[in-house]
Amino acid sequence: MPNHDDRHAAFLDRVQRGEKIEATDWMPDEYRIAMVKFLQMHALSELMGALPEKEWVPRAPTLARKLSLMAKVQDEVGHAQLILRVAEDLAAPLGKGREELVAELFTGEAKFHNVFHMPAPTWADAGIIGWLVDGAAVVSQAALLTSSYAPYARVLQRVCAEEGFHIQHGESICLALAEGTPAQRQMLQDALNRWWEALLLFFGPPESNSPSAAVLFKYRFRTKTNEELRQKFLTKYVPRIWALGLTIPDPQLRFDEEAGRWVYTPPDWSKLKAIARNQGPLSQYRLGLRRLSYEQGRWVREALLAPAAQAV
């Protein structure tokens, strides 16, 4: 039996050569813990991401819009289920189950994505979330399709395919508003103004020095930096936003041909610190909604757990 250091070195060598890791493989605790933390946050973010849009389901302007928004909200909750399933297998040897992974959201031990702490006060916000927030999500998730952890990469294939639908759905809402009345155009422009900083914050600060990020890079779980992902997002979406005749609320924004990169006014990075403490604009409100649905759904979980007793 090789000793732990040899196994660790062999594992590191495997992932750095591009080999994929499966749930049943031996893995260092450092890898397992970092994976659980990342997957838990991704799953909870899918769950929390459904909330800002769910607010618009009862107020959607037409039945067709209501149906497509409901489909999207249901997809997000479905993604949470798929990712939680992968996280559970990883967390089991740490003595952590599904219940804990979900409930740690309420104690603040587990985080949800910074973008879902923001308000969505108008119908245009629902459109911008579908088009640009999901657009940003696909940029970061597509970069993880080659992740070293194979069970997650497999689930992401389905997630990314469905996010593609969400983007089309969001584009459809935004295009309708952009081609609508002056008031509708203004509503879209206001929503873009509200979301622009959040879209830059989405990918995190350019130099992420956090120890947990370093672990993700070391084990080839991720390979693209926050700034690389943000630049990719800007390249894809800035021209589309401009093509609709919308104004991006940053006079400094331009593509630097020589440097081959977008120059932009940095967002207020300190906002991410407040959000990480669940002190963002709607952090507590959304956590309250989540807690309510968790409590109201308790009887369903309990009923699902006791089918044998019911069958008698």
Binding site: T24, D25, E88, A92, P93, P307
Partner: protein
């Protein structure tokens, strides 16, 4: 080794058959209290859009598996070309070439008939 889930839920591996011409294909897993619930959850998780004719739910603990580390089991040390199309195609094409004229004449005869 059994992969864990919530101690009271069981993990079911899900296989979906999209039509009668296709085999059941593994799509993922769900947590459920019973096989019946697992099939219901599988439909909600994996078939919100795609059509299908059948779902299998198999309790994960019932699956016998190979170990990913056991590479020897899947080793391909010997040349397997003698079992494949590629092992013959190029050589056959080369040899058919000298019969080409004859073949064309014959085909023309058949067409005329």
């Amino acid at each position: 080794m059994a992969l864990g889930a919530h101690p009271r839920f069981r993990v079911y591996e899900i296989f979906v058959q999209k039509d009668h011409q296709s085999p059941h294909v593994w799509v993922g897993s769900v947590d459920a209290g019973s096989a019946e619930d697992a099939i219901l959850l599988a439909r909600e998780s994996f078939l919100r859009r795609d059509p299908a004719v059948s779902i299998w739910a198999v309790e994960q603990s019932a699956i016998h598996r190979t170990d990913y580390a056991d590479r020897d089991f899947f080793a391909r040390e010997t040349d397997k070309r003698y079992r494949t199309l590629a092992g013959y195609r190029a050589a056959n094409a080369e040899r058919w070439r000298k019969y080409r004229r004859e073949l064309l004449d014959l085909e023309r005869d058949f067409v005329r008939d």
